[in-house]
């Protein structure tokens, strides 16, 4: 079980979180995107070995989405950061 350092709440067990997949995906602009872009956004995922930027949702905590850099081979968590800092930054937990 992973121990994830939520920048808002501190280190919490993986069971408090929900996984949200690749953090680098950008939703295509619906006004301009073609089918290939939508296909890539909805379905295509890289499966990298090593550091991977991914989204985690602190469902049983602050309900913030986090950007977590996790090594997919060792499961080491290299970094966690808030995704949306538009409404303030975390105090040091």
């Amino acid at each position: 079980m992973l121990l994830i350092s939520c920048p808002w709440c501190g280190a919490r067990e993986e069971t408090e979180f929900a996984y949200g997949g690749d953090a680098t995906l950008k939703r295509p602009d619906p006004a301009r995107a073609d089918d290939a872009q939508w296909y890539g956004y909805v379905y295509l995922r890289a499966n990298p070995k090593g550091p991977h930027d991914e989204l985690w949702y602190h469902a049983a905590g602050c309900r913030r989405w986090l950007r977590v850099t996790r090594d997919t081979a060792s499961h080491a968590i290299l970094d966690t950061a808030p995704v949306d800092t538009s409404r303030g930054k975390p105090d040091s937990p």
Binding site: L2, L3, P30, W38, Y57, A59, S74
Partner: protein, 998 residues
């Protein structure tokens, strides 16, 4: 009861002043505190303790510890019985009851042993080869084979004990309480770190309990006691004995299962620790390696180190006259200790040609007969060893030659050097190197991913283990921020030296005779089985393991893996290091399901959510159903009613008068901000900008892949404030979806989301008389059709309680969803029931609610919106706004999602009005057609409609809307049922939709 004929009169760490009675296979015996079940059996002269897994061969105690493959017993009886427990790890208690396993009718006369006669039919991988013809016979053979093979029996009664979980964090975890572990724990705790020391034995000390060493000028046992006492006195140090660190998981999460001793029986039977350690010192020791020779599994063949432990620690004598067979010096020390305890050493047989020096150096006794360059060619005796035959080794151990010499004995000790216990290190993804000198695998990196110290790192000598442990403990503490890494001085020791084996473990078979040389005792795998697997083409050790079942028993091959690898290496003509090991997996020793479950059993298995009206439902005698962690009232049965009667009555009350249902479980989200309407526009398929304050609207959401996600109503509370409801099951998921969009996809939107599901109780009042009931609740706001029209909401007081009333309908009748702060829920419900009584109001449950929605053709996520249905499939294509984008709109326009011939939502009527429609039925054109019979659709939801007085269903049928009036067959082969059905539009009741307004 009999005296203990094989108990030495003095010595050992047992308490002879007290006697404990126990029974084994129904016979009564005695032992002493300090005994394990295994040592007590040995002291009583019990040699035969079990039957093997496959051949039912008689087996005795092989080891003195966790690695025991043979002495697995069924412990206790009745509801506390536990199968496959290792006799070597069970502390003897007064009244203990144990029984042997896998034998019928008795251990000494086991019919299953006939399997041994058919051993030729049971080669490696036999279940892939034999009994495969005729094909139909396999089921019968399998039943018999599975009955014959096997271990203990699982308990059939509920477990009377309880188990608990404990979460903890430490700076330094030390696994193993032998010399290295004690030194490590001492060094780390001296530095000030929080330390947890865990050991699986009854007491700390490891091999120091079994070997006559001296540390710091005193017996090792005294040093152990002093060190443990010092550790126990340090406040931040926790000592766990009878606890096994069974698994290393991500980020230094360690699973530990602790056996809790509580004679009063109130404490948990076991405690599962989920321990986070900042740094780990592994001092897990080593396990002695057996030798492969013919019939090396006979009761009375034992590891030399185990025999040494039995005489030194337990004063239990495993025999009277022993032959010691070894490839290293270690067994000489065991021979010396056995002789000191009064066991005659008939001979030491050494595979090495010139071991003479070891005899006098270690045993100090030149009279012990030492025979070099020889191997055991045969063991005589079936249920107990009676003697051995020796032959000369030739060709560097490749063959046996010369005349055989017989020696009488009742005990054979074998010693093949030591195998470091690298299980936790490997589980933590540490890499292994093959150490040619020690003939075994050792950690390639002694600092990462955990620090390995002492025997588990291949450092077998006592002085090395102590120095290693101290250094590892100090380094781990320093890494955790405690101390400067300086190592306490290592005390002087007097001990036997390390045992370096001569690289010969599998003895050649004697010429002209087939004989079983066991590699894996628990799973009955021989050296020849491994060689056969290689001849049949298996190359990877992982495949050899699975084909032969090598190392796949409950002991996970602790005594067998190395010899199995050696056998495979010989057959493959490759060095063992190139063959490698199989993957070490958790758990190190079996963990009971009770410990895994902890207190999460029975009602505590899942969290239970109840609505504010739950107590009323219970008093009203509701039958409950669990839905998405909620307990909901399913139906309210009256005396004399069947369940179907009750559901019919409740549904008819809604159609003809009024009904009240608890819908507090609906997901509720408060949405605020300047861009709240913009967010709704982007997540719902339909438009929201025109929705006025005071009005409600139905909406459907799609997933980004274009399929239907959820539906519900959202109401505008204020200029910048909306109140969204979701389905009960999707409440959490929709909130997460919206938070994802608001925080990640469109962070620029000014919108805030708050989950208010539990803040509000909700009750739906439905039926032609619903307005009269509402009026009877004395609203302080107008509820007539002008004041509260369809799809509008008003706020005020009902029965004196604050409430919001939304005029929306799920049943198709005039209906009001009434929300009140959760604490008022039960009072308002009670008031509504009373106010409704003169109007014929009935409470109704989820079952009647389902009937009403099926009658109205409303889809729900799950049965109809099953993740493969589009908006148009559900007949709701017209909801999609053409003037704006929304989540899933682009993907919903993909060719396959708009192609003709998709499954569409339709209704079904059984053609025969009296017939029912089978659950889970597939729809076919011609049921008589031989398979494969193309399926044109499937039944999604069905019920008996009390309004129509016949069975109806909602179904998804290919191009269904074009097939209204067609007949299909609903067939459920697993139920053996089929019914002819007619396709009809999905709305069965009031298709014009006049009743919601009327």
């Amino acid at each position: 009861m009999k005296p203990q004929p094989f108990r030495a009169v003095s010595g050992g760490a047992i308490d002879r002043t007290r006697t404990l009675g126990f029974s084994f296979d129904g016979r009564r015996y005695e032992g002493h505190p300090g005994d394990t079940l295994a040592s007590a059996l040995i002291a009583n002269g019990i040699r035969l303790v079990g039957r093997s897994f496959k051949y039912h061969r008689p087996r005795g105690i092989l080891t003195d510890g966790v690695e025991e493959p043979n002495a697995l017993v069924q412990l206790a009886r009745g509801d506390r019985t536990e199968p496959n427990t290792r006799a070597t790890q069970i502390p003897l208690t007064d009244g203990l009851v144990a029984a042997s396993q896998n034998s019928f009718p008795s251990l000494t006369h086991d019919l299953g042993a006939a399997a041994g006669l058919f051993a030729g039919l049971l080669p490696a991988g036999f279940y892939y080869k034999t009994f495969m013809w005729p094909e139909a016979g396999w089921r019968a053979y399998e039943y018999l084979i599975r009955r014959a093979a096997g271990l203990g029996r699982a308990p059939r009664l509920p477990d009377p004990d309880h188990y608990e979980h404990r979460h903890a964090h430490v700076d330094v975890l030390v696994v193993g309480g032998g010399p290295a572990g004690l030194a490590a724990a001492d060094a780390a705790s001296r530095a000030g770190a929080r330390v947890l020391l865990v050991d699986q034995d009854l007491e700390f000390g490891g091999r120091l309990l079994a070997e006559p060493a001296r540390i710091d000028g005193r017996p090792a046992r005294e040093w152990v006691a002093a060190t443990v006492a010092a550790l126990a006195a340090r406040p931040a140090t926790v000592l766990l004995r009878r606890a096994t660190a069974f698994g290393h998981y991500d980020q230094n999460l360690i699973g530990i299962v602790e056996q809790v001793d509580d004679p009063a029986g109130r404490a948990p039977r076991q405690r599962l620790w989920k321990l986070r350690a900042r740094h780990i010192v592994l001092a897990t020791g080593a396990i002695e390696r057996p030798l492969g020779f013919p019939d090396n599994d006979r009761p009375g063949v034992m590891l030399a180190s185990a025999a040494q432990a039995y005489v030194n620690r337990f004063a239990a004598l495993p025999g009277r006259r022993a032959v010691v067979f070894t490839n290293n010096d270690g067994a000489y020390a065991a021979a010396r200790d056995l002789k000191r305890a009064g066991i005659e050493i008939a001979a030491i047989v050494d595979v090495r040609a010139r071991p003479d020096d070891a005899v006098s150096r270690i045993t100090g006794d030149a009279e012990v007969s030492c025979l070099g360059g020889r191997a055991i060619a045969r063991v005589s005796g079936r249920r107990a060893v009676q003697g051995v035959e020796l032959m000369q080794l030739a060709g560097s151990g490749a063959r046996l030659r010369g005349a055989s010499a017989h020696i009488d004995c009742d005990l054979v000790l074998m010693s093949g050097g030591w195998t470091p216990s690298v299980h936790l290190y490997s589980q933590a993804r540490g890499k292994l190197d093959y150490d040619r000198r020690l003939g075994t695998f050792v950690p390639a990196d002694r600092e990462h991913p955990a620090r390995s110290a002492g025997a588990c790192a291949g450092r077998f000598a006592l002085a090395d283990a102590l120095a290693d442990g101290g250094a590892a403990g100090a380094a781990a503490a320093r890494a955790a921020g405690f101390g400067d890494g300086s190592v306490p001085p290592t005390p002087p020791v007097e001990a036997d030296g390390e045992a370096v084996p001569h690289p010969l473990w599998l003895m050649p078979a004697p010429p002209g005779r087939r004989a079983k040389r066991f590699v894996d005792f628990q799973n009955d795998v021989t050296a020849d089985d491994v060689a056969l697997a290689v001849r049949e083409g298996y190359r990877s050790i992982e495949h050899v393991k699975r084909y032969t079942t090598l190392g796949m028993g409950t002991d996970q091959g602790k005594t067998s893996n190395l010899n199995g690898i050696a056998a495979a290496a010989a057959a493959l003509d490759r060095p063992p290091g190139a063959v490698g090991t199989t993957t070490f997996r958790t758990p190190y020793t079996p963990v009971t399901l009770g410990a895994v479950a902890g207190h999460h059993v029975g009602p505590a298995l899942d969290p239970l959510r109840v609505t504010p009206m739950d107590g009323w439902h219970a008093q009203a005698g509701a039958k409950f159903v669990n839905a998405a962690l909620w307990r909901r009232a399913q139906l309210y049965r009256r005396a004399g009613e069947s369940e179907l009667d009750a559901v019919n009555r409740e549904a008819l009350a809604v159609r003809n008068a009024a009904g009240l249902v608890d819908v507090s479980t609906l997901g509720k989200i408060d949405i605020q901000g300047r861009d709240a309407a913009e967010l709704l526009d982007r997540v719902y398929v339909n438009g929201w900008r025109t929705l006025a304050v005071g009005r409600s609207r139905y909406g459907v959401m799609l997933r980004e892949d274009g399929f239907v996600l959820d539906d519900g109503t959202t109401s505008r509370l204020d200029e910048q404030r909306y109140f969204m409801t979701t389905t009960t099951a999707n409440a959490g998921r929709i909130l997460m979806h919206l938070e994802h969009l608001a925080q990640i996809v469109w962070p620029a939107l000014d919108v805030k989301l708050t989950a208010v599901t539990d803040h509000w109780a909700a009750l739906a009042l439905a039926g032609p008389r619903a307005r009269s009931v509402l009026e009877a609740l004395r609203p302080d706001f107008p509820v007539d059709d002008a004041g509260l029209p369809y799809m509008a909401w008003r706020e005020g007081r009902l029965a004196g309680l604050p409430a919001r009333v939304f005029r929306i309908s799920f049943s198709g009748e005039r209906a009001y969803e009434i929300y009140t702060p959760a604490d008022f829920g039960r009072a308002l419900w009670q008031a509504a029931i009373e106010a409704g009584r003169p109007h014929g109001l009935e409470p109704y449950g989820t079952e009647a609610m389902g009937v009403l929605r099926i009658e109205k053709g409303h889809f729900v996520p799950g049965p109809e919106a099953d993740g493969r249905t589009t908006l148009d499939d559900l007949g709701l294509g017209r909801l999609m706004s053409k003037s704006k984008d929304c989540i899933g709109k682009a993907a919903a326009q993909r060719p396959a999602l708009v192609a003709p011939g998709r499954k569409q939502l339709v209704g079904l009527l059984a053609t025969d009005p009296a017939a029912s429609i089978p659950v889970g039925a597939q729809l076919v054109l011609d049921p008589a057609r031989p398979p494969p019979n193309p399926m044109v659709g499937h039944v999604a939801s069905l019920c008996y409609s009390p309004t129509l007085e016949r069975w109806i269903a909602l179904a998804l049928v290919r191009a269904g809307r074009d097939r209204i009036g067609e007949r299909l067959t609903a067939t459920a082969p697993l139920l053996g049922r089929r019914t002819e059905v007619t396709i009809v539009p999905p709305v069965f009741v009031d298709p014009e939709g006049t009743r919601v307004r009327g």
